[in-house]
């Protein structure tokens, strides 16, 4: 997956891996061979640094179940045929996969996928609404329209520790080498740090 626009390029670069995971055709492979199935919970901290400020927040990702391949395929097909609008519509019809919680707010995850890596696994999630528009507080902020989802990638090791990145408000588009592009509203990447899988 490729990230868009000059302003967002740096942020988008951070998502390449996530989106590659998300954009690999469903037929190319199933989810993690180890089948770490839901439910599982991750806690961590999100950080972003701009030219004027530093912000951080704690978050919890609760994955009840990873999205079945047929639903992933349906969303990928909707993206290719209906563009961003089609993808969002399909996403919002998909079964609930979990929740992303930040403070007292909860956002529904409808895309959750994991893939094995040499050191563990990569988990990608997409929420059916944006979480936060980083930079929208500036008087000359760009419009929020069209940034209808949030996309995150978690790089987890076998011990349950990891890091990652998140586009808190994003637009998913068809295109690029892998067929999917993510445009991040934020001009700077939001990093996920100190992610820990909660041992139940």
């Amino acid at each position: 997956m490729r990230l868009l626009t000059g302003r967002s390029r740096r942020a988008l670069a951070a998502f390449t891996a996530a989106l590659v995971v998300a954009s690999i055709p469903a037929s190319a492979g199933a989810q993690s061979k180890k089948k770490t199935t839901g439910p599982e919970t991750f806690n961590g901290k999100a950080k972003v640094q701009t030219g004027t400020a530093v912000a951080d927040a704690t978050f919890t990702i609760q994955i009840d179940q990873y999205t079945p391949e047929k639903d992933l395929k349906a969303m990928e097909a909707a993206l290719q045929s209906g563009g961003s609008t089609g993808f969002v519509a399909a996403l919002r019809k998909a079964p609930v996969a979990g929740h992303l919680k930040v403070g007292d707010k909860s956002f529904t995850i409808r895309w959750a996928r994991q893939k094995d890596t040499p050191k563990g696994r990569v988990i990608s999630i997409v929420t059916d609404s944006p979480v936060y528009f980083v930079g929208a507080g500036l008087p000359d902020a760009q419009s929020k329209a069209g940034f209808d989802v949030a996309v995150a990638q978690l790089n987890m090791d076998s011990a349950g520790l990891g890091d990652g990145s998140i586009a808190l408000a994003a637009k998913v588009k068809p295109g690029g080498q892998n067929g999917v592009e993510i445009q991040d509203y934020a001009s700077e990447p939001v990093k996920l740090a100190s992610i820990m899988k909660v041992i139940s």
């Binding site: 901290k45 004027t52 912000a55 978050f59 930040v102 609404s129 500036l138 008087p139």
Partner: protein
């Protein structure tokens, strides 16, 4: 959004505190560095900024602003503040915002209070939320801090606010976020 009363020390206290007249020898021009932070349920934001005050607002200009607020409310005050002479600059990152009203007065034996208003908002704290309220009408920023004789202090900032007539002091500050930024450290730059 709750109206935040910025105590009797701000412009509000115009007639009462800062309003009377700025006693003592003028300290302007002077500049300050400040570190601000605002926290919420999930986390927080920290930022650094500088305040350059070239001169403090004269009693005559101050009185004109007070009259505008009393007679015409926020709209008249906003119009008056934009017409007032520039007295300094608030800088956050690459953003420089003109200060159009600034007052200072002694407080105790070795402190003084400084307050100023810019002619446009600095930023809208919380506007990034998906359900954020409209930003229209919050057209200026208000800062106040106390500094000691050494040049160290602390204060608060309403980065996007509107001024309303009312309250016990005759003026209320309605802050966009409902929660002011804490200026944890303010340091007067040595000339």
């Amino acid at each position: 959004m709750r109206a935040v009363r910025l105590t009797a020390s701000l412009l509000l206290a115009l007639p009462l505190a800062l309003g009377a007249s700025q006693a003592g020898k003028s300290t302007a021009p002077e500049s300050f560095r400040a570190n601000g932070e605002i926290t919420g349920v999930a986390g927080g934001v920290a930022t650094a900024m500088t305040f350059q005050i070239d001169k403090y607002t004269s009693d005559a200009d101050h009185d004109a602003l007070v009259k505008a607020l009393k007679d015409g409310g926020n709209a008249a005050f906003l119009a008056a503040i934009k017409k007032a002479p520039k007295v300094g600059v608030l800088t956050i990152g690459k953003s420089a915002i003109d200060i159009r009203w600034a007052r200072t007065r002694p407080e105790g034996t070795d402190h003084r209070r400084v307050a100023f208003v810019t002619d446009r908002p600095a930023f809208f704290a919380g506007a990034g939320a998906a359900d954020a309220k409209p930003t229209a009408g919050y057209d200026l920023a208000v800062v106040e801090f106390t500094i000691d004789a050494v040049g160290l202090g602390s204060g608060t900032m309403a980065p996007a606010a509107k001024v309303k007539a009312g309250g016990p002091n005759g003026v209320e500050i309605d802050d966009y976020s409902g929660k002011r930024i804490t200026l944890t450290t303010v340091t007067r730059n040595v000339k």
